[in-house]
Amino acid sequence: MSAEPDSASAQNITAFFAELSRIYSADRILTNNAQLAPYESDGLTCFRARPCGVVLPETQQEVIDTVRLCHRFEMPFIARGSGTSLSGGAVPIENGLVIAMNRMNKILDYDAEQLTAVVEPGVINLKVSQHVAGDRLYYAPDPSSGPVCTIGGNVAFNSGGAHCLKYGMTSNHVLGIKAVLPDGEIVNLGGDSLESVGQDLTGMFIGSEGLFGVALEVTLRLLPKPEKYYTLQAAYDSLEKAGNAVAMVVASGLLPGAMEIMDRLSMDAADAAIGAGYPQDAAAVLIVELEGTTDEVEAEMPLLHSVIEESGAYIVEAAKDDAHRTKIWTGRKSAFSAVGRLSPDFIVQDGVVPRTRLAEALAEIERLSGEYGIRVANVFHAGDGNLHPLVMFDGREEGALHKAEELSGEIIRLCIRLGGSITGEHGVGLEKRMYLGEMYGEDDIEFMHRLQHAVDPQKLANRGKKLPAATAPALLTRGAHPLEKQGVIFRD
């Protein structure tokens, strides 16, 4: 294990915990091994780090006091939602403090007429939509992890989902944020109006992966729920054809709510998980969903059908009813986890490519997969060009993780080469930091470091994430990280 953070000596830690126990009752400060171990990693289990403690705040004031205490003691900290990050973003800082936000899960205010809800950051994404469903409203961003992940985590990562083509990501649905900066200062960003004046600080906070502090309260924008959905599943004999179909739909002038593609492997996995019933011999299935008023959707349907038929789909099937639609989406949304049935470990990539280069990217991934001899399942937000290649490996095999990471790296570079991004919605976290410099210039990266420094000179908040820092990466289950061995990343 690495040394304690330089700033926090053993003596300091004792004093720190003494102070901490003035904020929390004993049962809300977790320190023994059995309590800490389950907080060691997030949805990307190849990274792990043991915190020195976990606290379970129940009020905003407790969070504020905790952050101020951390600042005083120079104790690095991380806020944690449901730990579903797929990029290592929620991995603790070695010997730092974890602020687990899960008990801060109240919906503080809901105004149907103003189409807003004010929630605590520990509120589960899907709970918001459930809460407002009675007024036929919903909260649009729908990450597949919606039943699990928290609004705080969504804010940190600017999370998206299948239905982001039309209405955008978390950032487009958050009007205001109350946050505590890493030095303990409290700020109110944005407000409750769709419009604002002055620089968009709310937008800047969102997607900052916890580097700018802890969100305490989030004002969400709600939308009227579309009256009608029309969900179409089209089967193709090649992934490429499905990719091209997406471009054709876009060219037709239609603006579907969602366009998703699953390849054979991910269909098999989702089928095993929930019996989704995908066409047995299809190489790829495209899910397109129209949404809107009944009149509009019904007028769009024939157009969509003609485009899909022209695209070479050999089975076209529309959801029969709500239950069928739910099944299609449940299948799609369980795909990541369901891949656990095919492989004990996997890395989910999240690169974005220009939509017109989708087919090219998919073909190249297939080639790379063959070259490396590693299975890669593909399930992705095709409408946004946001790929999710799932690189499968067995962590128990010597060198398997290393090889999987190499392949992942090639895929990330491919996305950069094609003019895209290294991450569409899962964030940089720990996993993609070393690629940020390939997407942005050195100057830009340095600028980002300076922004972090300006807000958090001691790098207390989620130290070591998002930016390609030269210090403090998390520990790997099995000794040094391969990139560490190569000298690409370092530990201090």
């Binding site: 977790l30 023994n32 091994n33 059995a34 309590q35 171990a37 389950p38 907080y39 060691e40 990693s41 997030d42 949805g43 289990t45 190849c46 976990v54 379970l56 449901s82 730990g83 579903t84 687990a100 899960n102 008990r103 899960n105 520990g122 589960i124 992890s145 039943p147 699990v148 992940c149 989702a270 095993a272 998980a273 929930i274 369980s334 795909a335 990541f336 986890s337 369901a338 891949v339 656990g340 049935r341 004990p344 470990d345 996997f346 962590g395 128990r396 993780l401 289950t477 099995r478």
Partner: protein, 424 residues
């Protein structure tokens, strides 16, 4: 998930545990399904956290006694299994883990007494009856009892129904269409003997003859789920012998027993009886599954319109994946309106001995369930498990005063319907 579990050193249960851990991808989809996570909101009390903890204990990174409180808090409701897209057999993992760790753990004196008391009483109808009677008396001394024993007494009825011996064979009415064997259940026999009789009558009504093997023992679930592996094995072996093979099915009418019997193969891993257990398990099913498949004689319409809320017992819905069959059976009753309980997948907090071992969590879950039930404004509640019945009844009376909502077994409902009796 990657692991270093020394499979070979653990024995026959090492492999199933390692496989379960390996399948978990740490995605957290099970979190919202877990009752203890709902109550405590901390990772150690979630399925994902427990899987990780068990892995750490098996790998030797975390001491068993540190992990125990969290493993113990698990209800074994396997709601997490239903929620898990990756197909992690959580139920197998926790049962195996409890079996392998029990011998190593160091329980406090009071814990030991309590646990011995439970394990030596509940599985034996005679002893349980005795204890329950004492319980009624014990109420007077409630204050003097150590906390959890006292809590346990609260759950026992003040007055027990009269003991009714079960016949060895219960003949079919009219033409015999099939023959089954029934597990009588231990606590159920004592607390609500009517459930078995109702079951027998409903089966008979549908042309089924039932045998109730005299030599049968407790199903062993209670022992297995509290880590008393040897006792569980003994029970399983005895039942393998006691139940005939020339029946169409071996039926259970208590969800907990049914799911326990489905685990016989796991319990007897590495034992000479393993193969026999595998065969046995194939024939075990819940009475509702058997009847739904058979297709039942439609009961006469109810005299008064009745709203019935069906509660999914975890050991039916999650452990045995039985959700539609009881509903189908109930829906065949005319003038009965079947309503769904919101958040119905969530455990009521009963779960075997949970009430006794984790009273606070159990009470919180019980109250949550009671509130959910009441929100549907039912005339009557039906479920397929005696544990849930007791739990829901207790908490319903905690939450509402005045109007009593009866809680009945699905078979009792059918039986009453056949006999033209009102349900509520």
């Amino acid at each position: 998930m990657q692991h270093d579990i020394p499979v070979d050193q653990i024995g026959p249960l090492g492999l199933p545990m390692a496989e379960a851990v390996q399948k978990c991808v740490h995605c957290g989809f099970c979190l919202p399904a877990c009752p203890t996570y709902q109550v405590h909101g901390e990772e150690m009390d979630s399925p994902r956290g427990r899987i990780f903890l068990m892995k750490e204990v098996l790998e030797g990174n975390v001491a068993l006694d540190e992990a125990e409180p969290y493993v113990d808090k698990c209800l074994g409701c396997v709601g997490c299994e239903t929620a898990c897209p990756s197909g992690v057999p959580y139920g197998e993992l926790i049962t195996a883990f409890r079996a392998t760790s029990e011998t190593k753990r160091d329980r406090s004196a009071i814990d030991k007494t309590l646990r011995r008391f439970i394990l030596e009483t509940l599985p034996y109808p005679g002893r349980f009856r005795m204890a329950a009677k004492l319980g009624g008396v014990g109420r007077i001394f409630r204050k003097a009892m150590p906390g959890r024993l006292g809590d346990m007494l609260d759950l026992l009825p003040a007055k027990l129904p009269a003991a009714q011996p079960l016949p060895e064979v219960f003949p079919a009415e009219g033409e015999r269409k099939g023959r089954v064997a029934l597990l009588a259940g231990c606590a159920q026999q004592v607390l609500a003997p009517d459930i078995n009789f109702a079951t027998l009558r409903v089966l008979a009504k549908n042309g089924i003859e039932t045998v109730i093997p005299k030599q049968q023992s407790c199903c062993g679930a209670l022992a297995a789920h509290t880590g008393a592996a040897d006792q569980a094995k003994q029970f399983a072996k005895q039942n393998l012998k006691a139940f005939p093979t020339d029946v169409d099915a071996i039926l259970t009418n208590a969800a907990g027993c049914g799911s326990g019997m489905h685990e016989y193969e796991l319990w007897l891993r590495g034992e000479p009886e393993q193969a026999a257990a595998e065969e046995f398990v194939k024939r075990v099913c819940d009475v509702s599954v058997f009847l739904a498949k058979l297709g039942i004689v439609a009961p006469p319409e109810l005299q008064t319109k009745t709203r019935l809320a069906y509660h999914d017992a975890c050991h039916l819905a999650h452990a045995q994946k039985v959700k539609s069959q009881p509903r189908e059976l109930l829906a065949s009753i005319g003038n009965l309106e079947l309503v769904e309980i919101p958040n119905g997948d969530m455990c009521c907090g009963s779960a075997g001995t949970y009430n006794i071992e984790q009273p606070e969590t159990a009470a919180e879950l019980g109250n949550q369930k009671a509130r959910a039930v009441i929100s549907t404004e039912p005339d009557v509640v039906a479920t397929g498990n005696i544990g849930c019945m007791t739990q829901i009844e207790t908490h319903l009376s905690n939450v509402v005063f005045g109007k009593r909502i009866p809680v009945l077994h699905t078979m009792q409902i059918l039986d009453r319907a056949y006999r033209g009796e009102p349900l509520a």
